[in-house]
């Protein structure tokens, strides 16, 4: 009895290991419906409407893909998950991609979701307007130290040779009180999420707001894009192509004004805390950032903007040397 038990203890892990190996080796080829994970960058809200839409309306299933759309968050990193095999596709910001490339991560960009970076600065228009970079002089500007917004703001300031002592940088956290109290002139927000909430509160108290969009001041810093691993692209190019086509078709459909109601109902199911009126505005702004004009196809990769993003990170010593990011961009949409 004891001997059998010992045998079982020795055999069981081996069996589990072998079965795992077989599953890995068989990979996608042995399965009819391909099971994959798609890790988002952030929580389920209006800014991921296309991803939710694809899942809910069977865009993947009808193409033979079994995709689990997984919520992101501050502690999630899609690129790491790709490398560790926990995800097959993911959403990552451009700076994440460039940092990962500079450390040898085998990651490729297969579509760029946001054509305009939603990260902008909100301000009260009755106090001032920012038409050009030098208008930032003398202002108290919120930045998240270590975050993208710090990088973008420092690039703007450097572009106009504005010294550190000509502005006051204010460390930003989740609490907007310093901005509501008017202690800070410009506050970084995601234009299509917190931006809407803050703006509505200020408008309710009779204040008018505006946004500083770095792209309009000449600084293009790419935001979220869809990524996969080099291995996935090389071993399963057809799956990658099918996935990206399914996903971008869903994005197109979800942002089509004709499907507005359907998209809003869907987002409302996941984001229960945001009032309907805010969701409507968030969806409209997301549309303007993902598809700023009819000419632009959703998912198009703006190579020049990626190159500028890399240059910015290089100038700010966030990466030690060039990574030639353009080599990691795979243009499925032209």
């Amino acid at each position: 009895m004891g001997g059998k038990l010992i045998k079982l203890i020795y055999t069981l892990p081996a069996v589990i290991l072998i079965s795992l190996f077989i599953k890995t080796e068989n990979g996608f080829a042995a399965q009819k419906s391909v099971q994959m994970n798609y890790r988002l960058k952030w929580l389920f809200n209006a800014s991921v409407v296309g991803d939710l839409y694809a899942d809910a309306n069977g865009f993947f299933k009808t193409r033979g893909l079994d995709v689990t759309v997984k919520e992101g968050g501050p502690e999630r990193d899609a690129i790491r998950e790709l490398e560790l095999g926990y995800a097959h596709f993911g959403v990552a910001s451009a700076d994440q991609v460039i940092r990962a490339l500079s450390k040898g991560a085998p990651v490729v960009v297969i579509a760029q979701l946001f054509q305009i970076n939603p990260l902008q600065w909100i301000h009260r228009t009755e106090k001032f307007n920012i038409q050009q970079i030098r208008d930032l002089k003398g202002k108290v500007i919120g930045v998240t130290y270590g975050g993208n917004d710090e990088t973008i703001m420092r690039t703007l300031l450097a572009k106009e040779k504005i010294a550190d002592n000509e502005v006051t940088l204010f460390s930003v956290r989740y609490d907007y009180t310093p901005f509501y109290q008017d202690k800070v002139d410009l506050w970084p927000v995601y234009r299509n999420s917190q931006g809407i909430t803050i703006a509505s509160k200020l408008r309710a108290s009779g204040e008018e707001i505006g946004y500083v969009n770095p792209a309009e001041l000449g600084v293009q810093f790419v935001a979220n894009s869809i990524v996969t691993s080099k291995k996935m692209l090389m071993d399963h190019p057809e799956i990658v192509k099918t996935f990206i086509r399914a996903l971008l078709a869903a994005w197109e459909e979800s942002l089509d004004p004709a499907n507005r109601e359907k998209s809003l109902t869907l987002v409302g199911k996941f984001d229960k805390d945001t009032p309907r009126v805010h969701l409507e505005e968030q969806l409209a702004v997301t549309r303007s950032l993902v598809k700023p004009s009819l000419k632009i196809k959703i998912g198009s990769i703006d190579t020049q903007a990626w190159k500028q993003t890399e240059r910015i990170m290089l100038d700010q010593k966030l990466i030690p040397e060039r990574v030639h990011v353009e080599r990691a961009l795979k243009h499925y949409i032209r």
Binding site: P74, D77, I79, R80, E83, L84, Q96, R99, A100, K103, G104, A105, P106, T144, Y145, G146, G147, S171, R173, Y174, D175, T177, L318
Partner: protein
């Protein structure tokens, strides 16, 4: 005692690092997922002085926070040891207060008190005080019958004497708990800094996370571990000396 603490920490840290590197090379992971030894070393050379100063900042808050929590836990423990209605009320209130997760309370603290020193101190004390309280209540509620009986039948028992007897008889337990609570005070301060403060090693870790820089986090963990080992070693030595002096 102090040296033993430090080298024990170094063994654990190096084992952890070794395990990470084994995983990295076994799975052929890039430096983005797990940094290589050269990158870790270079990051260590670049950031160690700055992180050391950050850790000292955090440790100073943790020490004050721990002191406050010791005073608080002993005060509540002494009141709560009584089998009276008020004693039980204090105990229930203290327990209920701890039932709320600190990470949920911390943002409120930061909104009300700002992101400076006081908020960090308060959160450190809040995280540290409960285990201390449990031990103090446990120790203080347990009569030392052999000794207390004499004072009771002679009518000389006062609450101060009762507390002294129980503390003296459980001195080694108390000093061990106090030394152990240093870890909690440090963890509490780091959590506070991570959530909202503008200084300390928790704040630096948050920035490193924004930059997906695991090497910096490994260096931060090293500085935290070394500093905490030294502090705990010192507390243990102090406890040992107090025990020796009181009990001979």
């Amino acid at each position: 005692m102090l040296l033993r603490r430090i080298y024990q920490f170094l063994i654990i840290y190096l084992l952890g690092l070794f395990l990470l590197l084994v995983i990295k090379y076994a799975l052929n992971l890039s430096d983005y997922v797990i940094p290589g030894p050269v990158e870790i070393w270079e990051t260590c050379r670049e950031t160690l002085p700055r992180y050391f100063s950050d850790v000292m900042d955090t440790l100073s808050v943790a020490i004050i926070g721990q002191f406050i929590s010791i005073v608080l836990a002993i005060s509540i423990g002494v009141i709560g040891r009584q089998a009276t209605w008020f004693g039980s009320f204090v105990k229930v209130a203290a327990y209920n207060f701890q039932a709320y997760p600190i990470v949920a309370i911390a943002p409120i603290v930061f909104i009300l008190l700002g992101d400076g020193f006081i908020s960090r101190l308060l959160i450190a004390a809040m995280i540290c005080y409960f285990p201390l309280l449990l031990s103090v209540v446990g120790i203080m509620s347990e009569p030392i019958s052999d000794i207390e009986h004499f004072y009771r039948i002679t009518g000389r028992m006062r609450w101060q004497l009762e507390v002294k007897i129980r503390a003296f008889e459980n001195l080694s337990k108390l000093t061990t708990v106090i030394a152990g609570s240093a870890t909690l005070a440090m963890a509490g301060t780091i959590v506070a800094e991570f959530i909202a403060a503008n200084a300390g090693i928790g704040y630096s870790i948050r920035i490193a996370l924004y930059q997906s820089n695991l090497s910096k986090i490994l260096v931060a963990l090293f500085t935290i571990g070394v500093s905490l080992s030294v502090y705990q070693g010192m507390l243990e030595m102090a406890g040992y000396m107090i025990n020796k002096r009181w009990k001979g």
